[in-house]
Subunit: 162 residues, 2 copies
Protein backbone atom coordinates (compact mmCIF):
# COMPACT_ATOMS: atom_id res chain seq x y z
CA UNK A 1 0.00 0.00 0.00
CA UNK A 2 1.12 3.49 -0.84
CA UNK A 3 1.31 6.06 1.92
CA UNK A 4 -1.45 8.72 1.66
CA UNK A 5 1.18 11.49 1.42
CA UNK A 6 2.96 9.78 -1.46
CA UNK A 7 -0.38 9.12 -3.17
CA UNK A 8 -1.38 12.79 -2.82
CA UNK A 9 1.94 13.93 -4.23
CA UNK A 10 1.58 11.49 -7.17
CA UNK A 11 -1.95 12.72 -7.82
CA UNK A 12 -0.80 16.34 -7.82
CA UNK A 13 1.99 15.48 -10.26
CA UNK A 14 -0.53 13.74 -12.53
CA UNK A 15 -2.73 16.86 -12.48
CA UNK A 16 0.31 19.03 -13.23
CA UNK A 17 1.36 16.87 -16.21
CA UNK A 18 -2.21 16.86 -17.50
CA UNK A 19 -2.52 20.64 -17.13
CA UNK A 20 0.77 21.51 -18.86
CA UNK A 21 0.04 18.99 -21.63
CA UNK A 22 -3.43 20.52 -22.07
CA UNK A 23 -1.88 24.00 -22.18
CA UNK A 24 0.53 22.90 -24.94
CA UNK A 25 -2.18 21.17 -27.01
CA UNK A 26 -4.79 23.94 -26.65
CA UNK A 27 -2.29 26.70 -27.49
CA UNK A 28 -0.60 24.77 -30.32
CA UNK A 29 -3.91 23.88 -32.04
CA UNK A 30 -5.28 27.43 -31.76
CA UNK A 31 -5.75 28.96 -35.18
CA UNK A 32 -8.55 30.75 -36.91
CA UNK A 33 -9.05 32.55 -40.20
CA UNK A 34 -9.99 36.15 -39.62
CA UNK A 35 -10.47 39.28 -41.69
CA UNK A 36 -8.63 42.42 -40.78
CA UNK A 37 -9.39 45.55 -42.83
CA UNK A 38 -10.62 43.29 -45.67
CA UNK A 39 -7.34 41.35 -45.57
CA UNK A 40 -7.86 37.69 -44.76
CA UNK A 41 -5.29 36.13 -42.46
CA UNK A 42 -4.92 33.16 -40.19
CA UNK A 43 -4.27 33.78 -36.51
CA UNK A 44 -1.84 31.22 -35.11
CA UNK A 45 0.16 30.97 -31.93
CA UNK A 46 3.41 31.06 -33.94
CA UNK A 47 2.65 34.70 -34.86
CA UNK A 48 3.40 35.76 -31.29
CA UNK A 49 6.81 35.06 -29.72
CA UNK A 50 5.28 35.12 -26.21
CA UNK A 51 2.86 32.32 -27.18
CA UNK A 52 5.70 30.28 -28.74
CA UNK A 53 7.63 30.69 -25.49
CA UNK A 54 4.51 29.56 -23.58
CA UNK A 55 4.23 26.38 -25.70
CA UNK A 56 7.95 25.56 -25.42
CA UNK A 57 8.04 26.19 -21.64
CA UNK A 58 4.91 24.09 -21.02
CA UNK A 59 6.25 21.29 -23.25
CA UNK A 60 9.51 21.22 -21.27
CA UNK A 61 7.61 21.14 -17.95
CA UNK A 62 5.33 18.37 -19.30
CA UNK A 63 8.34 16.17 -20.18
CA UNK A 64 9.90 16.88 -16.78
CA UNK A 65 6.65 16.16 -14.92
CA UNK A 66 6.20 12.92 -16.86
CA UNK A 67 9.72 11.72 -16.03
CA UNK A 68 9.31 12.52 -12.32
CA UNK A 69 6.18 10.32 -12.22
CA UNK A 70 8.44 7.27 -12.69
CA UNK A 71 11.01 8.38 -10.17
CA UNK A 72 11.21 5.76 -7.38
CA UNK A 73 10.25 6.99 -3.90
CA UNK A 74 13.02 7.12 -1.31
CA UNK A 75 15.65 7.86 -3.93
CA UNK A 76 18.38 10.31 -2.85
CA UNK A 77 17.65 12.25 -6.04
CA UNK A 78 14.49 13.75 -4.49
CA UNK A 79 16.59 16.66 -3.30
CA UNK A 80 17.37 17.35 -6.98
CA UNK A 81 13.65 17.03 -7.79
CA UNK A 82 12.90 19.73 -5.21
CA UNK A 83 15.44 22.05 -6.88
CA UNK A 84 14.10 21.22 -10.36
CA UNK A 85 10.50 21.78 -9.20
CA UNK A 86 11.59 25.26 -8.19
CA UNK A 87 13.31 25.97 -11.51
CA UNK A 88 10.38 24.72 -13.59
CA UNK A 89 7.84 26.60 -11.45
CA UNK A 90 9.81 29.78 -12.26
CA UNK A 91 9.78 28.85 -15.96
CA UNK A 92 5.98 28.40 -15.80
CA UNK A 93 5.50 31.74 -14.01
CA UNK A 94 7.63 33.49 -16.62
CA UNK A 95 5.88 31.93 -19.65
CA UNK A 96 2.35 32.48 -18.27
CA UNK A 97 3.13 36.12 -17.39
CA UNK A 98 4.51 36.80 -20.87
CA UNK A 99 1.58 35.10 -22.66
CA UNK A 100 -0.95 36.82 -20.36
CA UNK A 101 0.57 40.25 -21.06
CA UNK A 102 0.27 39.79 -24.85
CA UNK A 103 -3.19 38.19 -24.55
CA UNK A 104 -4.32 41.26 -22.61
CA UNK A 105 -3.21 43.49 -25.51
CA UNK A 106 -5.04 41.14 -27.90
CA UNK A 107 -8.22 41.44 -25.88
CA UNK A 108 -8.23 45.15 -24.99
CA UNK A 109 -5.75 46.55 -27.50
CA UNK A 110 -3.58 49.53 -26.62
CA UNK A 111 -5.13 52.72 -27.96
CA UNK A 112 -2.05 54.85 -27.23
CA UNK A 113 0.18 52.57 -29.29
CA UNK A 114 -2.48 52.26 -32.00
CA UNK A 115 -2.86 48.51 -31.41
CA UNK A 116 -6.44 47.44 -31.99
CA UNK A 117 -7.98 44.51 -30.09
CA UNK A 118 -8.15 41.42 -32.31
CA UNK A 119 -10.48 39.20 -30.28
CA UNK A 120 -13.54 40.59 -32.07
CA UNK A 121 -12.24 39.19 -35.38
CA UNK A 122 -10.88 35.87 -34.12
CA UNK A 123 -13.11 34.96 -31.19
CA UNK A 124 -12.46 31.23 -31.35
CA UNK A 125 -8.69 31.77 -31.43
CA UNK A 126 -8.91 34.09 -28.41
CA UNK A 127 -11.03 31.61 -26.47
CA UNK A 128 -8.46 28.89 -27.13
CA UNK A 129 -5.60 31.11 -25.97
CA UNK A 130 -7.62 31.88 -22.83
CA UNK A 131 -8.16 28.13 -22.29
CA UNK A 132 -4.44 27.46 -22.65
CA UNK A 133 -3.66 30.20 -20.13
CA UNK A 134 -6.17 28.74 -17.66
CA UNK A 135 -4.56 25.28 -18.07
CA UNK A 136 -1.14 26.88 -17.52
CA UNK A 137 -2.41 28.60 -14.36
CA UNK A 138 -3.80 25.30 -13.01
CA UNK A 139 -0.39 23.71 -13.64
CA UNK A 140 1.33 26.61 -11.89
CA UNK A 141 -0.91 26.38 -8.81
CA UNK A 142 -0.33 22.59 -8.68
CA UNK A 143 3.44 23.08 -8.85
CA UNK A 144 3.34 25.70 -6.09
CA UNK A 145 1.37 23.27 -3.85
CA UNK A 146 3.87 20.50 -4.71
CA UNK A 147 6.74 22.86 -3.89
CA UNK A 148 5.27 23.81 -0.51
CA UNK A 149 4.60 20.13 0.19
CA UNK A 150 8.16 19.14 -0.81
CA UNK A 151 9.73 21.91 1.26
CA UNK A 152 7.64 20.89 4.26
CA UNK A 153 8.36 17.14 4.04
CA UNK A 154 12.00 17.71 3.15
CA UNK A 155 12.76 20.28 5.84
CA UNK A 156 10.63 18.86 8.64
CA UNK A 157 12.81 15.84 9.59
CA UNK A 158 15.92 18.01 9.26
CA UNK A 159 14.44 20.70 11.51
CA UNK A 160 13.44 18.17 14.12
CA UNK A 161 16.99 16.84 14.27
CA UNK A 162 18.59 20.30 14.25
Amino acid sequence: MMKPKRLLSLLLRLIAVGATLAAVIIMATSHEKGTFFAVSYEAKYTDTPAFKYFVIANAIVTVYGFLVLFHPPGSPLWRLVLALDLVFTMLLISSISAALAVAQVGKNGNSRAGWLPVCGQVTKYCNQVTGALVAGLIALITYIILLLHSIYTFLNPLLEKA
Copy 2:
Protein backbone atom coordinates in the same frame (compact mmCIF):
# COMPACT_ATOMS: atom_id res chain seq x y z
CA MET B 1 34.16 43.10 12.24
CA MET B 2 31.55 41.66 9.90
CA LYS B 3 32.05 38.18 8.56
CA PRO B 4 32.94 38.14 4.84
CA LYS B 5 29.84 36.03 4.07
CA ARG B 6 27.53 38.44 5.85
CA LEU B 7 29.25 41.38 4.11
CA LEU B 8 28.80 39.73 0.69
CA SER B 9 25.13 39.06 1.37
CA LEU B 10 24.63 42.67 2.50
CA LEU B 11 26.41 43.93 -0.62
CA LEU B 12 24.18 41.77 -2.84
CA ARG B 13 21.07 43.08 -1.07
CA LEU B 14 22.28 46.66 -1.59
CA ILE B 15 22.75 45.96 -5.32
CA ALA B 16 19.28 44.39 -5.48
CA VAL B 17 17.63 47.38 -3.77
CA GLY B 18 19.52 49.76 -6.08
CA ALA B 19 18.52 47.78 -9.18
CA THR B 20 14.81 47.50 -8.35
CA LEU B 21 14.70 51.18 -7.33
CA ALA B 22 16.42 52.10 -10.61
CA ALA B 23 13.90 49.95 -12.53
CA VAL B 24 10.99 51.78 -10.85
CA ILE B 25 12.45 55.26 -11.44
CA ILE B 26 13.51 54.63 -15.05
CA MET B 27 10.17 53.05 -16.00
CA ALA B 28 8.05 55.60 -14.10
CA THR B 29 9.81 58.61 -15.63
CA SER B 30 9.64 57.23 -19.17
CA HIS B 31 7.43 59.38 -21.34
CA GLU B 32 7.83 60.97 -24.74
CA LYS B 33 5.66 62.93 -27.11
CA GLY B 34 5.29 61.10 -30.40
CA THR B 35 3.33 61.44 -33.59
CA PHE B 36 1.31 58.55 -34.89
CA PHE B 37 -0.51 59.03 -38.21
CA ALA B 38 -0.36 62.79 -37.70
CA VAL B 39 -1.96 62.40 -34.27
CA SER B 40 0.26 63.68 -31.49
CA TYR B 41 0.27 61.61 -28.32
CA GLU B 42 2.40 61.09 -25.25
CA ALA B 43 3.81 57.60 -24.63
CA LYS B 44 3.78 56.80 -20.92
CA TYR B 45 4.24 53.64 -18.92
CA THR B 46 0.69 53.98 -17.55
CA ASP B 47 -0.66 53.25 -21.06
CA THR B 48 0.43 49.63 -20.75
CA PRO B 49 -0.91 47.43 -17.91
CA ALA B 50 2.19 45.19 -18.10
CA PHE B 51 4.46 48.20 -17.46
CA LYS B 52 2.27 49.34 -14.56
CA TYR B 53 2.56 45.84 -13.09
CA PHE B 54 6.35 46.03 -13.59
CA VAL B 55 6.56 49.33 -11.67
CA ILE B 56 4.30 48.11 -8.83
CA ALA B 57 6.15 44.77 -8.50
CA ASN B 58 9.57 46.44 -8.49
CA ALA B 59 8.38 49.04 -5.97
CA ILE B 60 7.15 46.29 -3.63
CA VAL B 61 10.46 44.40 -3.97
CA THR B 62 12.40 47.64 -3.34
CA VAL B 63 10.53 48.25 -0.07
CA TYR B 64 11.06 44.62 0.97
CA GLY B 65 14.77 44.71 0.05
CA PHE B 66 15.20 47.96 1.97
CA LEU B 67 13.55 46.56 5.12
CA VAL B 68 15.66 43.38 5.01
CA LEU B 69 18.83 45.53 5.00
CA PHE B 70 18.06 46.51 8.60
CA HIS B 71 17.20 43.00 9.72
CA PRO B 72 19.62 41.97 12.51
CA PRO B 73 21.84 38.96 11.68
CA GLY B 74 21.24 35.80 13.71
CA SER B 75 17.54 36.54 14.08
CA PRO B 76 15.22 33.50 13.90
CA LEU B 77 13.21 35.38 11.27
CA TRP B 78 15.86 34.61 8.60
CA ARG B 79 13.90 31.49 7.72
CA LEU B 80 10.99 33.79 6.86
CA VAL B 81 13.37 36.00 4.85
CA LEU B 82 14.37 32.95 2.79
CA ALA B 83 10.70 32.22 2.04
CA LEU B 84 10.00 35.89 1.23
CA ASP B 85 13.09 36.05 -1.02
CA LEU B 86 11.56 33.17 -2.96
CA VAL B 87 8.13 34.83 -3.24
CA PHE B 88 9.57 38.19 -4.34
CA THR B 89 11.93 36.53 -6.83
CA MET B 90 8.84 34.93 -8.41
CA LEU B 91 7.11 38.33 -8.45
CA LEU B 92 10.15 39.84 -10.22
CA ILE B 93 10.26 37.01 -12.78
CA SER B 94 6.57 37.47 -13.51
CA SER B 95 6.70 41.26 -13.88
CA ILE B 96 9.85 41.22 -16.03
CA SER B 97 8.40 38.50 -18.32
CA ALA B 98 5.16 40.44 -18.80
CA ALA B 99 6.93 43.75 -19.47
CA LEU B 100 9.44 42.06 -21.80
CA ALA B 101 6.64 40.42 -23.82
CA VAL B 102 4.87 43.76 -24.39
CA ALA B 103 8.17 45.58 -25.04
CA GLN B 104 8.94 43.01 -27.72
CA VAL B 105 5.63 43.83 -29.45
CA GLY B 106 6.49 47.53 -29.12
CA LYS B 107 9.85 47.00 -30.77
CA ASN B 108 8.97 44.52 -33.53
CA GLY B 109 5.20 44.91 -33.75
CA ASN B 110 3.00 41.98 -34.72
CA SER B 111 2.16 42.12 -38.41
CA ARG B 112 -0.47 39.36 -38.19
CA ALA B 113 -2.41 41.25 -35.52
CA GLY B 114 -1.90 44.55 -37.35
CA TRP B 115 0.12 46.01 -34.46
CA LEU B 116 2.81 48.34 -35.77
CA PRO B 117 6.10 48.78 -33.92
CA VAL B 118 6.12 52.08 -32.03
CA CYS B 119 9.81 52.41 -31.18
CA GLY B 120 10.51 54.32 -34.40
CA GLN B 121 8.22 57.12 -33.22
CA VAL B 122 9.18 57.18 -29.55
CA THR B 123 12.84 56.13 -29.50
CA LYS B 124 13.69 57.81 -26.18
CA TYR B 125 10.70 56.17 -24.49
CA CYS B 126 11.70 52.76 -25.84
CA ASN B 127 15.27 53.20 -24.67
CA GLN B 128 14.06 54.05 -21.18
CA VAL B 129 11.80 50.98 -21.08
CA THR B 130 14.78 48.88 -22.19
CA GLY B 131 16.87 50.44 -19.41
CA ALA B 132 14.21 49.65 -16.83
CA LEU B 133 14.05 46.04 -18.05
CA VAL B 134 17.85 45.71 -17.80
CA ALA B 135 17.74 47.08 -14.23
CA GLY B 136 14.96 44.60 -13.43
CA LEU B 137 17.03 41.74 -14.88
CA ILE B 138 20.06 42.77 -12.77
CA ALA B 139 17.80 42.75 -9.68
CA LEU B 140 16.46 39.32 -10.64
CA ILE B 141 19.94 37.83 -11.10
CA THR B 142 21.02 39.31 -7.74
CA TYR B 143 17.98 37.79 -6.01
CA ILE B 144 18.65 34.38 -7.59
CA ILE B 145 22.26 34.51 -6.32
CA LEU B 146 20.97 35.55 -2.85
CA LEU B 147 18.47 32.71 -2.93
CA LEU B 148 21.11 30.12 -3.84
CA HIS B 149 23.37 31.56 -1.13
CA SER B 150 20.56 31.48 1.47
CA ILE B 151 19.54 27.93 0.59
CA TYR B 152 23.16 26.81 0.82
CA THR B 153 23.91 28.48 4.17
CA PHE B 154 20.52 27.55 5.63
CA LEU B 155 20.54 23.91 4.56
CA ASN B 156 24.21 23.15 5.08
CA PRO B 157 24.27 23.03 8.91
CA LEU B 158 20.99 21.09 8.87
CA LEU B 159 22.35 18.57 6.39
CA GLU B 160 25.51 18.08 8.42
CA LYS B 161 23.46 17.32 11.52
CA ALA B 162 21.03 15.05 9.68
